[in-house]
């Protein structure tokens, strides 16, 4: 698949989508009053950041950074940057871990307060 000629459109698509995801997620995380909605917002933000990080490592016309038997002997193969991919891999796993802990906290808050609405959980000032 050759997308080199559409690079300008792709720039807008990838950067735009990821920044859009970040903003939508931030909006949900800051405005919504339901704790679960807040976690959904945070996970959307995470996805946006990951897409942004990955788009930075992309090279037009590059192949995946894998020296498979089909690629290994060819000269002048352009490969996309593997470093952001490794970083995103780490970030996804860490994001999942944090989401899991956050949701466990929500379950425990629900045990005590029988609600997941911030406005009704106010023992400490929010």
């Amino acid at each position: 698949m050759d997308l080199t000629q559409y690079n300008d459109i792709l720039t807008i698509i990838f950067y735009g989508t990821s920044i859009g995801l970040i903003l939508i997620g931030l909006y949900a995380a800051l405005v919504k009053r339901s704790l679960i909605k807040i976690m959904i917002g945070l996970s959307i933000v995470d996805s946006g950041v990951n897409l942004l990080l990955l788009s930075i490592g992309y090279l037009a016309g590059g192949t995946a950074p894998i020296f498979s038997p089909a690629v290994i002997d060819k000269q002048n193969v352009i490969m996309v940057d593997p470093v952001p991919q490794a970083l995103v891999l780490t970030a996804i796993v860490i994001g999942f871990a944090v989401t899991g802990v956050g949701l466990a906290l929500i379950i425990r808050l629900y045990r005590h307060h029988k609600t997941v609405n911030i406005d009704e959980i106010k023992n400490l000032k929010w």
Binding site: I36, L54, G57, L89, F96, I107, Y110, T115, N117
Partner: protein, 94 residues
């Protein structure tokens, strides 16, 4: 060209799903929307030549994150806000 159109459509679905996820009051649907986001993201990662990340996102984002959210919703409440209340097995508007 077809690929480009496919990417554009995916980007639109991605943003639409994100907006749907935050305006939907039924949290279960919102969570399904986030899993749609993850699914499309994993295709996008593949387009960006990152099969490793695509596989991770598909496994963690689509499957595990969704299931963890669903477990939480099952243990807490399904609807956002105070508009809905559960009477017996039915959900009614207040």
């Amino acid at each position: 060209m077809i690929l480009l159109i496919a990417i554009i459509i995916m980007a639109i679905i991605l943003l639409a799903a994100a907006i749907y996820a935050i305006i939907q009051k039924d949290l279960l649907y919102a969570v399904i929307a986030t899993s749609v986001i993850s699914l499309i993201l994993s295709i996008m990662y593949y387009v960006l030549q990152a099969p490793d990340v695509a596989l991770t996102e598909a496994a963690i984002g689509v499957a595990l994150t969704t299931i963890v959210f669903i477990i939480t919703i099952r243990n807490t409440e399904r609807y956002e806000g105070k508009k809905y209340i559960k009477v017996g097995k039915k959900i009614i508007k207040k």
